[in-house]
């Protein structure tokens, strides 16, 4: 029987259809309609499914709000994916406020970014390939947030990692991009290792407890495990209770770029900017926060795990903020800012304010996507130069970009009443207020310390974002005019690469494997033309971007203005979304029938006076941060930014962490394995034992040279003789 909840499958399958259509027909359409028209069609084919999914998502959401709060979990099952006697994993989607919130972010912001990308990638020759990956990403991301069991979440989890890998390495001609892509995938896999072990641990505990009756082997499904977590896990002792959430959190650390697994995210900026906005800012990297929130019952059972989450979050937040100061690449600043903001979200989860974490996920999706897309517009306008030191005074050339980025900037800095203020203040406030609860429950770290770290980070965020904004848009210097064009001879360099085929007479091409010389030349010419790159010259005149690019900017700017206000408490929409503390805890738990272990009201206890002081101090931190940086930049680019030296240099190099990791694992690990292969596999096992014994046999064989012919047939003869002897013995023995 189909119900309205089954419509969620349409949401899930639309991007899949978009992906398939793009993959199968994309190139053909371009070939048929020519590059300009073909790209327009492909672009539409990419945007429409996502936009449509958004519309249906809104409809389903609307239907969900019509239900009573304790009814708001609906599951729609399709068919069994893994179906064993011991484990059943259906394809089942979960419709509840949390998953739909994520769906709306993913499809809504996703559709805007798709639209933007049609403009951004307009001249790229692999246009369909880009949108193939992008649609596939949306499909996996939806699977991640909608899946009602850990295995489906894991499909999405690794799937988005795959798309991230493909899109970071999208411009694979530059081997550095390919390496960044590998790094992202591998570091994520380390996190996934933890995640999978967490899944296993959940499975074995639930499988061997007798709590689940009947033949229901859906031991990974949320509606089965979440309500029983409190009953089942403690019977296995505190180690298991702590291990489950910590293992899940290791997975979240990989995907959401928490220290020390954040390493891949800055490198991931090698991908096209829409990818950075969609995957590495708005959606995929928040999957970890989503996972922790989805499995919050497991976390709440273990104060140790909560402490780990909160501390890792707080540390990452401040660590990444320091690194952002030392960056000159506009996208790298935003990347570290993302890492830092993700730290905030985990801080919120760690102190038990899961809804605040999700609130920040939402507002962050708005303003960070906006900032990334804005930076993309700047990059396009500046002939793909990403060094902020070569920008300056762009506000008069790029009015729309400037205006929207301005909103993004003050939104992330935390100026009321923009979106960032509400969510960030919520996190800081809840961190402070949870203090007495957690210290009573045996935390070693007083959340007030975490609050202080959070506040300092807020101050620093305001500072480095101001630095970025100032260097890019404000000031009077148009610094690209100062620099000499040093890269222009790159073109000539490529010229030399054009290969002049010589005679290939030595290989006769009987199978038709090879192109003719003319075809090779033709291909190289096409290649060469497509690789023509813009170069930022001193007489460059920046132009505002096309409407398909600035329209999403405007939409996101609007969301960044009102998003926080609308979704925070006390307004009609928030009632609808149930993001009030009380609502969140009451609803999710009532729905999932999973009792909250943290009494919500008691936990975040703060009187009105304190609340106002907290709000005041976070606003003050934001204003101070902006002020300090504005003062520093009042006379143009500071000296410490022209040449990155001293502390800034150390900070910019991630305090040496990335380098150390690279040296240890890639350099040393590679050389060690290489040596081990030569010495052990080739030397000891193969050399000493295998060939050594062969050599010994051979030496003996020299004594019996006649018998040892070295031919397998004579060995076979020996074997035959042996069999005959054994069989004769057997016959003799039985007939005795």
């Amino acid at each position: 029987m189909t119900t309205v909840w089954d419509y969620i499958w349409i949401v899930q399958l639309l991007p899949v259809a978009g992906f398939l259509a793009q993959a199968l027909f994309g190139q053909r359409i371009i070939a048929m309609f020519g590059p300009a028209m073909g790209r327009r069609i492909c672009g539409a084919m990419a945007v429409v499914p996502i936009a449509l999914a958004f519309v249906i998502g809104v409809f389903v959401f609307y239907k969900l709000t019509e239900l009573a709060p304790d009814q708001r979990v609906q599951i729609s099952t399709w068919f069994n994916w893994i179906d064993l006697q011991t484990l059943r994993v259906p394809f089942e989607l979960r419709v509840d406020p949390l998953s739909l919130t994520m769906v709306l972010i993913v499809t809504g912001v996703g559709a805007l970014i798709h639209l933007y990308a049609t403009g951004y990638m307009a001249t790229d020759r692999d246009y369909p390939r880009f949108f193939t990956y992008l649609n596939l990403f949306i499909a996996f991301m939806l699977m991640l947030v909608l899946g009602n069991n850990l295995a489906l979440v894991f499909i999405g989890w690794e799937g988005v990692g795959l798309c991230s890998y493909l899109l970071i390495g999208y411009w694979y001609h530059d081997i550095a991009n390919a390496k960044a892509a590998n790094k992202a995938f591998i570091v994520n896999r380390i996190g996934d290792w933890g995640f999978v072990l967490g899944i296993f641990l959940i499975y074995v505990t639930f499988a061997s407890s007798q709590a689940i009756v009947g033949d229901e082997a859906r031991l990974l499904s949320f509606d089965v495990i979440l309500p029983l977590a409190e009953k089942v896990l403690p019977t296995f002792g505190p180690a298991v209770v702590a291990a489950v959430p910590i293992l899940l959190f290791i997975g979240a650390m990989g995907k959401s770029a928490q220290f020390p697994l954040y390493l891949w995210l800055p490198d991931a900026m090698a991908g096209p900017t829409p990818v950075s906005a969609l995957i590495h800012a708005a959606t995929m990297v928040t999957a970890g926060v989503y996972l922790v929130t989805r499995c919050h019952v497991f976390f709440e059972l273990s104060p140790i795990a909560m402490l780990v989450v909160a501390c890792v979050g707080a540390f990452t937040a401040i660590f990444a903020a320091t690194v952002a100061f030392g960056q000159t690449d506009i996208k790298k600043v935003l990347a570290y800012s993302t890492v830092s903001q993700l730290g905030y979200m985990f801080l919120a989860c760690g102190v038990g304010a899961f809804y605040a974490g999700m609130f920040h996920v939402t507002t962050h999706a708005f303003f960070k996507a906006l900032l990334f897309l804005g930076s993309g517009a700047v990059i396009v306008a500046m002939a793909h130069e990403q060094d902020m030191r070569r920008y300056g005074a762009l506000r008069k050339y790029l009015p729309i970009t400037h205006g929207t980025m301005l909103i993004g900037w003050i939104a992330i800095a935390g100026i009321p009443p923009l979106a960032g203020f509400f969510s960030k203040d919520d996190i800081l406030g809840k961190t402070f207020a949870s203090s007495h609860y957690w210290t009573e429950h045996g935390w070693l770290v007083d959340p007030k310390i975490l609050y202080a770290i959070g506040l300092i980070t807020a101050f620093m965020t305001a500072m480095y974002m101001t630095r970025m904004f100032w260097l890019t848009f404000l000031g009077k210097e148009e610094r690209w005019r100062e620099s000499a064009a040093g890269v222009s001879d790159e073109h000539a360099h490529h010229e030399a690469h054009v290969h002049h085929p010589h005679a290939h007479a030595e290989h006769e091409d009987t199978h038709g494997f090879f192109l003719s010389d003319d075809e090779v030349l033709e291909r190289e010419r096409a290649e060469h033309e497509a690789e023509h790159h813009d170069v930022l010259t001193p007489d460059h005149q920046p132009k505002e971007v096309v409407p398909s690019m600035w329209l999403p900017l405007v939409a996101l700017a609007a969301l960044s203005i009102v998003g926080g206000l609308v979704l925070s408490g006390g307004y009609p929409f928030s009632e609808l979304l149930h993001w009030d503390t009380q609502h969140l805890f009451r609803d999710w738990n009532a729905i999932a029938a999973a009792p909250t272990l943290l009494p919500a009201a008691e936990m975040f206890h703060a009187d009105h006076m304190t609340e106002w002081i907290l709000i005041g101090s976070s606003v003050l931190a934001a204003i101070l941060g902006i002020g300090v940086m504005a003062f520093q930049h009042r006379l143009g680019i500071p000296k410490s930014d022209r040449e990155i030296t001293g502390l800034k240099r150390i900070m910019g190099a991630q305090w040496g962490f990335d380098g150390a990791m690279y040296k240890t694992f890639v350099d040393f690990g590679g050389r060690f394995s290489q040596g081990f292969y030569r010495w052990f596999d080739k030397g000891v096992i193969d050399g000493l034992f295998v060939n050594g014994s062969a050599w010994t046999v051979q030496s003996f064989g020299k004594l019996f040279r006649k018998a040892q012919t070295g031919y397998v047939r004579s060995y076979a003869l020996t074997m035959l003789l042996g069999v005959v002897v054994i069989l004769s013995y057997v016959i003799w023995k039985t007939n005795r």
Binding site: L84, I186, I190, W193, L727
Partner: protein
């Protein structure tokens, strides 16, 4: 049944009669025969019933009656898929071997003879018959490597032959020993697996020390085949030097003969020894997973890298197998099939490029993605299935294997420690390291080699070969139920055969019992002779008990 096994051999005889100048006849003839065999094996699948753990379609003819040696063949849910895999992969191998120009007739004949031998291995239910088939696979493969191999073919082929041959000598001794033991217990010696298992089920076959010896003798033969670390070094050489078809068959089918041997012989015949040996073999599997992956990561030769990746992937198969859990068993058999498809496809595609460029060194490649987009896309899919990406086949197998191992470790089953599956998980990370590195080396970057600039994309029929494998990549990845449904009864029977007390172990010889859909051992009556999976359930004799408590197993191994 016998038709499937012997059809390729008859085909080979037929081809031998055709003069060698008719190359087209040999090529299309061999292809036709392999396709016919595949169709015949499909009818096996059609006739197969998933409702019983007993052997089906059994054919038994006395062979050397004086010694009780029979020609006895049959399939169950484990061997069924390996038979299907064999017939399917052989089509791929034969078709791709159209490129073989040098002594094409002999090449095709060897391939078909090899197919019969491999099918025989998976169907034989008599130990001597099994041994004969097991050894018979060596000969054609030896010649494939020695005649059509790469530069170092002599060394590789002799190494391959001696290594595996040496291993199976021990098995032969154990087989003979089993004959004498059965002669003592039954009054008349037998090599019949079913009869021997009945003895084992009652605990009459052998006491633990002797069981351990026999187990070890069989295990050596199979361990070399799998291959277990540290007896793996024949594999990189043989895979690398073999012609493409040889590599495909070696990886896809012949390695599975090791895993299959454990499942078919070691576990049911020596259950007590299996429990004793499980931690050790699991440990070796974990070492193999990590070791193979690390070694793969440092190779400069494309085929060698894939070969070492096999060492790592087969480690997962053994990990699942010796977890002695339902999840682990299922994962193990499924991963055997998966590895056949994924690694078979990898070797196939490496073969395609080797056929064109005659080099396997990464340093000769780079930037091929632009040059050969379809090839790159297909290779990407296959590579990712080998990485174990969810929604593709590799994931299901590895996930279940590790889940089973984790379960065993968590419960302390058979004394398996928990760190083993945890460490094995690192193999999945390393798989990403070496496979992505491989992909980057070949396909990413700039295409600077003038030789590579002349490459056309792969041809339509080559694409078809790849797509047919990719179909199974997604089929198993998205709907593994097709495959697991057929296995479950047999694997449940096997699990009970290993883990239950003597006397409670279900016997293949006793058709009045069976396993039901929950995994319980039950009384079965009214069995339909035409459809052995159709029977009426009676009393539950042994409950499924998927979660064997560690105390039970510990108490058991102590008592013994």
């Amino acid at each position: 049944m016998s038709l499937v096994i012997w059809m390729p051999l008859f085909g080979a005889v037929f081809l031998m009669l055709v003069p060698k100048d008719f190359v087209a006849v040999h090529r299309y003839g061999a292809l036709g025969i392999s396709i016919l065999t595949f169709i015949a094996s499909l009818s096996l699948y059609g006739a197969f019933s998933s409702g019983t753990f007993h052997f089906q379609m059994v054919e038994a003819i006395p062979w050397i009656s004086g010694l009780g040696i029979q020609y006895k063949v049959g399939v169950d849910g484990i061997s069924l898929w390996l038979v299907m895999l064999t017939t399917f992969i052989t089509i791929i191998a034969v078709w791709f071997s159209f490129y073989v120009g040098h002594r094409a007739k002999e090449f095709m004949v060897y391939l078909l003879v090899l197919e019969t031998a491999m099918l025989g291995v998976f169907c034989a239910l008599d130990l001597v018959l099994f041994y004969v088939f097991f050894e018979a696979t060596l000969v054609p493969m030896y010649f494939l490597i020695a005649i059509w191999g790469g530069e170092d073919k002599k060394y590789a082929s002799v190494k391959f032959f001696l290594y595996t041959f040496l291993g199976s000598i021990f098995m032969l001794i154990a087989i003979v020993a089993l004959y004498f033991i059965s002669a003592e217990k039954l009054g008349k010696g037998t090599f019949d697996l079913v009869a021997l298992q009945s003895l084992a089920a009652q605990g009459d076959l052998a006491a633990l020390p002797i069981q351990l010896w026999l187990f070890a003798a069989f295990a050596v033969a199979f361990a070399v085949k799998v291959p277990f670390w540290p007896v793996h070094t024949w594999l990189p050489d043989a895979h690398t030097e073999a012609p493409t078809a040889g590599s495909i068959i070696l990886a896809a089918v012949m390695l599975k003969m090791g895993a299959y041997g454990f499942l078919r012989f070691c576990l049911p015949l020596f259950p007590d020894a299996t429990i004793q040996a499980a931690p050790l073999l699991m440990g070796l599997a974990v070492v193999g997973i990590i070791y193979g992956a690390v070694m793969a990561a440092v190779q400069h030769d494309w085929k060698r890298l894939v070969a070492y990746s096999s060492v790592s992937h087969l480690g997962f198969v053994m990990l699942g197998l010796f977890s002695l859990t339902h999840n682990g068993f299922t994962g193990s058999v499924l991963q055997s099939v998966n590895h056949g498809i994924s690694t078979g496809a990898l070797f196939l595609m490496v073969g395609m490029i080797y056929e064109r460029r005659h080099t396997r060194l990464f340093s000769d490649y780079g930037g091929l993605k632009r040059q050969m987009p379809m090839f790159a896309a297909l290779f990407l899919i296959v590579m990712l299935s080998s990485v174990g990406l969810p929604s593709m086949n590799g994931f299901i197998g590895e996930f279940l294997c590790m889940l089973g191992a984790f379960q065993a470790g968590f419960e302390g089953r058979a004394g398996i420690p928990l760190w083993m599956p945890v460490v094995a998980g690192g193999g999945v990370v390393l798989a990403a390291v070496y496979l992505l590195w491989m992909f980057q080396k070949v396909f990413y970057g700039r295409n600077d080699n003038p030789e590579n600039k002349r490459l056309r994309d792969i041809k339509p029929w080559e694409q078809l070969l790849c797509w047919s494998l990719v179909l199974f990549v997604f089929w198993i990845g998205l709907y593994p139920k097709t495959f697991t449904d057929e296995m479950e009864a047999s694997l449940n029977g096997l699990r009970h055969q290993v883990l239950q007390q003597p006397g409670l172990r279900p016997q293949w010889a006793d058709t009045s019992i069976d396993v039901n859909a929950r995994g319980d051992v039950v009384q079965a009556s009214n069995r339909d002779p035409n459809n052995p999976g159709n029977w009426t359930q009676g009393k539950v004799l042994v409950p499924a008990d998927h979660q064997v408590r560690s105390e039970q197993v510990a108490a058991r191994s102590e008592r013994e």
